[in-house]
Amino acid sequence: MEKKNVILSLYPTTKLLMILLIAVSVFIIPSYLYAYAMFLVCLVIAAMGNVTKEFANLTIKGLFSLCILIFVLQSFFYPGTHVLWEWGFLAIKQEGIHFGLTLTSKVIAVGSSLILFFRITPVKDFVYSLEVMGLSPKATYVVLSTLTIIPEMKKSSQVIMDAQKTRGVETEGSLMVRLKALLPMITPLVLSSVASTEERAMALEARAFTVNKRKTSIYSIEKTGRDSFIRVLLLVLLILLIVWRVAL
């Protein structure tokens, strides 16, 4: 079912090129209207890939709140002379609003394209395509195991916290009390996870991880004709953008 989706079934590096074009084009075309339009483009692609909900969720939580903050503060504090509105020492300046719009539009365009990329591309596929291009399997291991270790570690930190609480470590109260709780929380977490690296290293060594031979993969994804078509299309778009910029 997933394979049939127009966007999701593309080869990872094709998706990457697509996202890169969106992100880079923001710097080719300086207008902030264009950059905000790129956010809409990302939204459309997200809708085509059936990931609108997650995409919207992450952009609103991660990007919009920050951008509103940047925009408000810039419009107040950016040096300028065209004062639009004044109250006490606070003054909104036209230059500030313009700078705020330009800046936030770029942050939103680049940020949302990055979010989009990881919504439509499973990290496994992305790393696989990099390995085909010649990335060392060690790097692949680092990326993939990091992604599995993080949730595991969050869980074990919760367990350690509960364990230390039952042993009488105070986790609520004044700042000093909470600071003191830090060391008994962190130490077991670090020591236990670091100790596990030894076992992991031995387990991988036993499976010939460090052998200098080409490794085969049980997982594979293929490029299709559509990928080359979209790549050519992207190249044409890039040239058009540059021409547009130079002509203007």
Partner: protein
Amino acid sequence: MKRGLKHDFSLIAIMLIPIGVGLNVAIAQLVQILRLPIWLDAIGTIVAAMVAGPWVGLVTGGSTNLVKSIFTPTELPFALSSMAIGFTVGMLSKKGMFKNFGKTIVSCLIVTVIAVLISTPIIVWVYGGISGSSASAMTAVLLASGQRLVQAVITSMGLLELIDKSTSVILAYIIVNKMSDRYLSKHNYTQSFIKSNKKSKVA
């Protein structure tokens, strides 16, 4: 013992990279649960760099921000500063700057200076001075009182980074000293942490 870019990435050092990234994220979350006013989001990087050297530290710092940027892309530019922190701590460890507590305090200052030097241009150029962290409120206050942008960012970042990075480095120092000699001896940069070495010097 051979050190350097080619020799640093032994298998056990590579295993440390995901652990370091995981620790960064998990400890940052713990700090949030404890409602502490600092981030402590680099302890994993610092531990990895202390034990396995500058290059592993650099990669750990960089991958931390890459992984974070999957969910919050605004973290991506700060990969540079994380990488610099990892590299600096690794170099300090190589030079034996974590041999005792006094030297560790000096290292804290060096790490803070590097962190501020790298983060300030990123905050100013990429985000126009406001990065949405707790330092931003202070930056805004300083801006309102008439300070220039770069100065305001350096002041607010400097103060917060000093507290944050010093706490991180000291915590990492305490923790690495608690690791067993047997484990430490497998890494290239741990001479100053191994207890049997310390005792023989005293005697």
